[in-house]
Every structure is written in C-alpha cells, then in structure tokens.
Subunit: 166 residues, 2 copies
Amino acid sequence: MLRVTKLADYGIVMMTYVASRGGATHNARDIASEVRLPLPMVSKVLKQLVRGGLLVSQRGTKGGYGLARRPEQITVAQIIHALEGPIAVTQCTDKVRGDCDIETKCPVRTNWFMINQAIHGALEKITLAEMTQPLRHQLVTLIDPGTRAEAGTGTNLTAGAYEQHG
Amino acid sequence: MLRVTKLADYGIVMMTYVASRGGATHNARDIASEVRLPLPMVSKVLKQLVRGGLLVSQRGTKGGYGLARRPEQITVAQIIHALEGPIAVTQCTDKVRGDCDIETKCPVRTNWFMINQAIHGALEKITLAEMTQPLRHQLVTLIDPGTRAEAGTGTNLTAGAYEQHG
DNA sequence: CTATACAGTACCAAAACGGTCCGGAATCCT
DNA sequence: AGGATTCCGGACCGTTTTGGTACTGTATAG
Ligand code: FES
Ligand code: FES
C-alpha cells in the first residue's frame, strides 16, 4: 500500500483549489462545497494546515483562508508533513536510538534511511504551482543505476529525459 | 507518515537475512531467533512471502525457506507488494473508476498517479542484493528539473509575508 | 509411525483512521 | 454595544486496520 492518509489527500486537493484561485481568501464553507467534501472535515483539515504554516486565516464575517506564501514555495512534502507528521517510511528511519528492538542486528536500517530521504526529497520538489496543472515534466528514476545488475524487470516509467551521470 | 507496515518491514529484514546467507534453506525458528522476532510473526510473514512467489518452501523434517530466485532479481517493491498489496499512495491512484467521490472534480488525480509511479519505480530498482550491503550508489532526484518554474534554489521557508489579504 | 516443519485460517486486542460535534474567540456590520 | 459570521481548539466515537497469537491440517525425513 504505502498509503498516505485521506487527510493528506484532502489537504492536497484543497490546497490545490485555493492555489488555483489566485491568492484570494476562501471560507471553509465555499471550499467544502467546491471540493465536494463535508464541511466539518474540510474545516479540520484547514485548521491543521494553518497550524502547519501553509495557510493563513482571517476570522470574522469576511474571514477565510489564504495561502501563506507563493504556490511555488509550497511543496507536497510540506502538506503531508503538516497533516500527518514527518515523513518516515519505517518507524526506525526517523528515530535516532532505542526505538527499535532489533536495531543493532538490523542490516537494512541505513538503506531504509536513504530510501526515505529519496522519497522525501522527491515530494519536496513538487510544488503547489505544479499541482495546479497536470505534471508535464518527466518523472525520472530515483536511483543512480551505477549498480544496476540485471534487474531489468519492466514496468519502468518511460524515462525519456534520464540523465546518466557517473 | 507515509508508512510501510511493520509486516513489510519485517519481511525486508528477513529476506535480507536469508539473502545474506547464500541460497541455503533456513527454517522459521532459526530466522526468528536470528532477527529477534517472535516465531509466530516470522512464520506468518514467511508464508506470505511464499505466496508472493519470493521464497520457496520445503516441508518436513529438513524443511525450510529459501530464495525463489537470485537476490538481484528480488526487489523491495516486490516484497512490499507481497505483504501489503499493490503500492498506491492514495486510494484514487490505483482504481480506474468510480471509487472516489470527487473524482471528476479532482485536479490532482493525474499528479498523484505519476508520483505513485515514480515511487514504485524507485522501489522496483532496489534489489535484495543491494540491501545486503549499505547502499553505495547515489540516490538521485526524482523529478526532471526541466520545468522548474521559479522555485529557484529556495527551500526558504521563512519567506515571510506573501501578503494576499485585503 | 513419528517427529519435524510448513500451510491455512481464524481469532483477538490495541491503535489508527475517518468523521462529527460543541463551546469559545476574533472580526465585521449595524 | 450587540448580534452575525467565521475560525479555533478540543473532545468524542464508530469502524477499519494493524500487530500478534493460536490451532488444526499436511507433507516429508528417517
Ligand atoms: S527494523 Fe528497526 S532498525 Fe531495522
Ligand atoms: S481525490 Fe479521488 S480522484 Fe482525486
């Protein structure tokens, strides 16, 4: 699965909606009806996004929510982080010590750490500005194929722009 | 979070252990004591790995588990798939139709799909052979920086205002 | 025939998820 | 000032998933 929670999913949809409407402020009710989600849920997500510093809120009659900064400065990683905490593929990648029982014996810890870093770095590079339109840049491979072996199983992306280096 | 379940985590540790010991067969009890996990859990994971076609099993007195193919042919993505189903970051990336309620209105569907593909492709490229030793190849970027917009060298989170309010 | 070791499945507690609700607090309008 | 509007901070709760265990059955070596 490797799931992201629905909260984060909703959050990204909502952020995308706000971003697509320029910088104007929208209240929760409008957003809810626009993205077709129940108001309480939308409200909850918006609150967390404010806490995460991605939106700014204005109370009162003409209140609402607006982006905290330019869409180019808001990344998918930040949204996920705001809604479900730090990105950590396993429980052992983030902690420094003592959490995992088999830690010392574990031969894959460092590997997970690097995989995690890579995924995080990837999500960090996708901005809201890019989400408002279908991604047109190429998604390329994550791993430097220095040690490719013969793992030539198919199902690759059509990695056209693939920069080989080293 | 973007978590992988503990089952998959255990599975990778166990697969790595078996791979590091060449192709010999190991029984569940040995593996359990070696990776320091309770036997029933280890047994459960191993069974699922067999069903997923990653291990082969031999019953009887001298039975045990062994790799189904060479470590270079076994990928992290395959292990995750065997233990927790197809990799799908959101619920809407995998299904073809009708699952999501806001589907038609959703502007980020295709983007999620590509992100998902990229992550899957990444995990598909990490083999067991590489997991047995600390990754020495470089993890590189996931996104082709062709259409970078003006995201610039940023990561400047404290960019301050972006005053959009009236 | 018997001990060993995997296979399948059912079961259960605890945690996380998804969603709702309500009493405040700030802001605007009259 | 007073009320209407809108966000804020929680608590709350049913359902699903996760993490882990147990038990019965089947194949195999000796
Ligand atoms: S499983 Fe926890 S450190 Fe490897
Ligand atoms: S959230 Fe389901 S299709 Fe976009």
